[in-house]
């Protein structure tokens, strides 16, 4: 998108030097992250507000949830490492290695989303749920979780709100990396993923409808690829990396706040 700025290297003499000594796309991404951190800041504020104003905030998470969330965290942290390696490879112009590391990053991100989805489904089946989520057939809700949902609706609301918003960011990040790595070849893959996600999830699952995010993203990605039909260079990989690390960083707030501080042992 920053075509003016990229070209600007060629005519730098005609302009004042950039205030931050870097190209426009990168500044644009930093600005977006600034605003996105306020978006997440508002959500975390809402969470803290709810938690502080609720007497007897429940701490229902079992070790099972924590183990799962720790595994998710490990995948996300690994993906940050592979992202760094992708940026490094792009600096040295190793196109094949860039693509490989980007795909590895996407794989870790996808693993995170799948584990997270699994976790959500289990919790919903056990009774930690929102009023509109239908009951999972053939599943006995645990008394404790059902009780939490009934007496402290703030708990499931903030849990699903915060982690859902973060999961959306990870999903969009995987799609972003896919476009950087594979360009328009990624769009049929994305449509395939959408169909799989839609058909593989039972109709009572929130992911059955949530899968349509992939369809919307595929449409948006097609528009962007149509408008900017170019080959991405190392700056695009670096900028995508900024976004990816930011999403990781957000998880580093959500994991302790939402999971660790709501564990039963505390």
């Amino acid at each position: 998108m920053a075509d003016v700025a990229v070209e600007q290297h060629g005519v730098a003499a005609a302009y004042e030097p950039s205030l931050f000594g870097t190209y426009s796309k990168k500044i644009g991404m930093w600005l977006f992250l600034l605003s996105d951190s306020l978006t997440f800041g508002a959500l975390l504020y809402a969470y803290s507000y709810g938690r502080i104003s609720t007497p007897n905030w429940p701490t229902p998470f079992h070790s099972e949830s924590i183990r799962n969330a720790t595994l998710m965290t490990a995948f996300l942290l690994t993906s940050s490492l592979t992202m760094v390696l992708a940026v490094r490879a792009s600096v040295f112009g190793k196109g094949k290695a860039v693509r490989g590391w980007l795909l590895a990053t996407m794989a870790c991100g996808t693993a995170f989303v799948i584990l997270h989805g699994h976790e959500w489904s289990n919790l919903i089946a056990e009774g930690l749920t929102l009023p509109v989520f239908p009951a999972v057939p053939g599943h006995e809700a645990s008394k404790e979780f059902a009780n939490v949902s009934r007496t402290v609706p703030q708990f499931p609301a903030t849990f699903f709100g915060l982690t859902g918003m973060h999961m959306l960011h990870v999903t969009l990040g995987v799609i972003y990396l896919g476009i950087v790595a594979l360009r328009k070849k990624f769009i049929p893959i994305l449509l395939g993923l959408w169909l799989v996600a839609w058909l593989a999830t039972p109709s009572y699952s929130p992911f059955h409808y949530g899968a349509h995010v992939l369809l919307l993203a595929a449409i948006a990605a097609s528009v962007i690829v149509f408008l900017k039909p170019k080959v991405y260079d190392s700056s695009d990989v670096e900028v995508a990396g900024l976004y990816w690390h930011f999403v990781d960083l957000v998880w580093m707030f959500i994991f302790p706040l939402v999971y660790l501080m709501s564990t039963r042992i505390l």
Binding site: V11, I27, G50, M165, K228
Partner: protein, 577 residues
Amino acid sequence: MASTDLVHAHAAPQGFIRKYIFSLDHKVIGLQYYFLALIAVFTGMFLSLLMRIHLIWPTAQLPLVGEIKPETYLGLLTMHGTIMVFFVLTTAPQSGFGNYFLPIQIGAPDMAFPVLNMLSFWTTFVAFVVLISAFFVGGGAPLHGWTGYAPLSALPNAGPGQQLGADLWITSIAIFCVASLMGALNFITTTLDLRAKGMTLMRMPLTVWAWFITAILGLLAFGVLLSAGILLLLDRNLGTSFYVPLVVVNGQVMGHRGGSPLLWQHLFWFFGHPEVYIAILPGMGVASQLISTFSRKPIFGYRAMVYALMAIGFMGFMVWGHHMFMSGMSPYSAFAFSLMTMAIGVPSAIKTFNWLGTIWGGKVRLYSPMLFAIGFVSLFVSGGLSGPFLAQPVLDIPLHDTYFVVGHFHLIMGVAAIFGIFAATYYWFPKMFGRKMNETLAKVHFFVTLLGTYAIFMPMHYLGMAGQTRRYSQFTEVAYQTKLIPLQTFMTYAAFVTIAVQLVFLFNLFWSMKKGEKASDNPWEATTLEWTTATPPPHDNFGGRTPVVNHGPYEYSVPGAARDYTMQTDPATAPVD
């Protein structure tokens, strides 16, 4: 690659659609924003006309809408406020004129991200369509006002407009947030990266400074509103209770519990107060530019003006609590918010005195843009003076839910910002369309509008002090309020006249595009970069060259100079700075 391509990223478009509809050219996008705001402002004005008619003839049968019921009145109120704040005051001065003139004034060929620029306009357009569609769904427009206070806004069964209409309202606001974020980061990046050689920060016109700081405010404020809106949508559609405590509606216990309406107020006003400055700062920039140009004097205290803009922007984020004095907040918080709010009066006063200091002793040319700039200052002062009253909790509590507040914010944020838009329109029209607007019609427009707006909004202060409550659709039922109806009647007649004269403006705008007097490239003898290029500016703004800047933005009547203005691109003969 040809050298022009190096400077300018995308070639001039060929077909009609790429040239005028899905254009990447910041000038076309600026005009698209402007005309969207023009449609929005006349829509919003029509809604206010219906409200004013209803207030004095509550049972009148109006053409098109019939008799206005109380819920229709609240729907009109919500839509008037939302359309005006988001799609006029945010859209026209910042996205409209900012898009058109920020790149030209810093010597850039286009915005840093042209595609993002186009997307941000079309996203805004979608938001507008979604908002307007709330009128046409079952139940009609929402009742909760432009502030959308929970729990009213969070409960679909709280009133007729609170069903699909309220969902559409929130969706529209969320889409608008995304559009504004795209626009804001584009403005900031462009200002940081694409200034022509010699255009140092302290040589930027004050309009550019104002747009730049407004963009920073938008970047930081809209992200929070986006979150607030998402949580409100969750409350309405997924049954969460972020904003809703245990409530009973129509004798029925709602499923919500544990939420806090104050959470919405905090998140909303953390956005809402900077939003006020998003509306007014571009007007301040335009007033500075015009007052200097038409007084033929350098702006008084350029650096003070820049720092005052920064101070207003910075402090604007710390005063949101003054909208919530009624919420029962701790007196210590209220004191802190009150102190900070009154402190904003200092940079505001610096700006006002500097405007007056610029006019003082100048060779003032009273063309219509200058008249509107002076009108801006007048309204800014009149509306601003009631600010320190409302900043004090002890005065705010009796005045808050009365017409006093309505008068205050309409003068300072509504009409003052609109005068900034008018001033900018009359000033830049020759550059945008190559012709001048008719000066006689413009003067008629100015004097009637200035007197008319004072006639409408000044009495509101008296109504408020007399205890007339805002947002009531009818005053005929309460004895002490009926005594105030004659003043309301006067305001409605003043509104008729003021609205009628806006049609003169509309006529002047379109007539002058075709028939106006042809204008030269620099009709106002101004100094900034947009006046050095052709009229209207070519696709890449400067015809393949990049200007070199040697002077500050407001070098008027420089002693020893051949003429009374020194263009920013004039050769640096005399030592500057």
